[in-house]
Symmetry: C2
């Protein structure tokens, strides 16, 4: 059995020992830069964890796991162009540091590199692995489109939002877990069940991200508070608040979101105050708990060895930003 | 045996009977639009032709062939953003008709759809097919990067240029032919040989495109004469002309390329006149013939049935814009 820490180390080692730098350097340097920014590498660790928990040999899952992480980083690179984001993990985004064309083409190349890593798998499992990966990649693109649509779409509902984050965020978490199961030769029913667990975990993970934007501590969250509020992003908090706000509160909420006269600090503070008044913090935490709870329930049905279950619970807790 | 015409029809039918339209329509409409623009669909026909000539069942090659064509159209979509091109096949490019974000994300999705089609293949052949496709896709990205580098790079040589078009254009032609061979269960040596044929054919094909920009007839070429000259594009003609021009001719050539005072019509006419004086038309035709001849020589070594060879020769002639 592998501890959560050893899986993190294995993935870190896999990336640090891979030479992504090639010719033409104008194409590959932004890829090296992006992958060097790191991040928590949660998705590839989920692949290895799932492979291990289903009794597979984690070494057979290292390349596909890297493929998932490289794909994830490719989507961030292209999303950052679309969102015109200046920073990623505290550093300049590729389209800022270089230019948009570089970000497009280096992103495309990362996508190919992701497929190259996914292809390094047991040939007998390749059809299943490739179909899973294709299905996931397509859904992630659809999720990003829904997210962009929301920017100009009035009346985005909570169900609309949950559909979007399921596609944009949760399916890749679910794919990671299912991929590990497939590579461990788990049965189809088990693979589907761990996928469903991943969906719940992924939804909780994204809601947690929404929550921390308003109610987190900068030191733990790693980014400034109120980024979503500043950009009028339609998060769970935003949609829920407009759903619940009435009369004077609704007027004030609308004003804060549209008033160009107030400072950003005033806007963020004012909206967070209304969020608290409307119990958006508690409602969001309940929703996170609900999805986390569903994931835990599915986990229990597997009857894994207790030690392995503990590692998996630990990884889920890490993803939801809790102490073990 | 299938005639060249019947292979064209089979590919046309495959595309017209596939529903690419799905939700969210903002994502899929640009994909439908792009694929509806058509084009000659030479690459998927090459896949089927190669499969047929090696004794394979063309129906097994239809999906992978579509994958190659969808991939090709994806690269055009992203290239058009990078080149800031307003038109593609006489119609507005996706980033013009919609916007850059749409073109990025719809392109990414087309890339996934290409992989989905490539995946619809005999599972036993999938590892080989996927590796070929990944290798090709990566090289095409590298070729596009070299092409972009050329814009600001002084002293691009003919060997530099040939390396670029090999990657950007020829490897996908070669991949198409090899893919057909692999799907027909051809031996490895034959698959490599038809790949090499494809490289020569692809180089001739791109040089022909360069040639027609200056010396073609608009009615046959399908686009206005002098587009490459207008944008100072470093084609075979451009590089060769600067290599050969001396003294006063070099001064005049440099002037035409840098003079902002003259009209575009004057610039194009003046440069074509210098090209003719330097025999660039004849030199380019010789180079096209050389690569076409190499491809024909490789074709002869196969000893295919004469009728099949004739169809293949016909397709090569179609690609190089000749009467049969």
């Amino acid at each position: 059995m592998h501890s959560l820490e050893s899986l993190h180390n294995r993935i870190g080692e896999a990336f640090s020992s891979t030479m992504f730098d090639q010719e033409p350097f104008q194409l590959y340097q932004p890829i090296v830069y992006t992958l060097d920014l790191g991040g928590k590498r949660l998705r590839p660790v989920l692949v290895l964890m799932s492979c291990d928990i289903f009794g597979g040999e984690i070494e057979t899952a290292v390349y596909p796991a890297m493929g998932v992480e490289i794909f994830h980083n490719f989507t961030l690179l292209h999303d950052d162009i679309m969102d015109n984001a200046p920073l990623r993990r505290g550093n300049a985004t590729v389209h800022q540091k270089w230019d948009t064309n570089t970000a497009i083409l280096s992103g495309d190349t990362m996508f190919v590199i992701a497929y190259e890593h996914v292809a390094k798998t047991d040939p007998l499992l390749l059809p299943q692995v490739l179909n899973l990966f294709n299905d996931t990649a397509r859904k992630v693109c659809e999720g990003q489109q829904f997210d962009m649509n929301f920017e100009t779409q009035p009346n985005v509902t909570i169900p609309d939002y949950m559909t979007m984050i399921r596609l944009k965020t949760a399916v890749l978490i679910a794919c990671s877990l299912k991929l590990g199961a497939v590579l461990a030769h788990a049965g189809e029913a088990d693979a589907e069940k761990i996928y469903d667990l991943g969906i719940e975990l992924g939804l909780a993970f994204q809601l947690q991200d929404d929550y921390l934007d308003a109610f987190g501590e900068t030191s733990k969250f790693g980014k400034a508070i109120g980024g979503d509020i500043a950009t009028n992003k339609k998060t769970f908090l935003f949609i829920k608040a407009f759903e619940l706000a009435k009369d004077n509160t609704l007027v004030k909420l609308t004003d804060f979101y549209s008033d160009k006269e107030i400072t950003l600090t005033e806007k963020i503070a004012g909206i967070i105050k209304i969020y608290r008044k409307l119990n958006i913090d508690k409602i969001t935490r309940l929703e996170i708990e609900r999805h986390h709870g569903k994931a835990m329930e599915i986990l229990k049905t597997f009857h894994f060895e207790p030690a392995k279950t503990r590692e998996m619970v630990g990884l889920m807790q890490e993803m939801l930003g809790r102490e073990r």
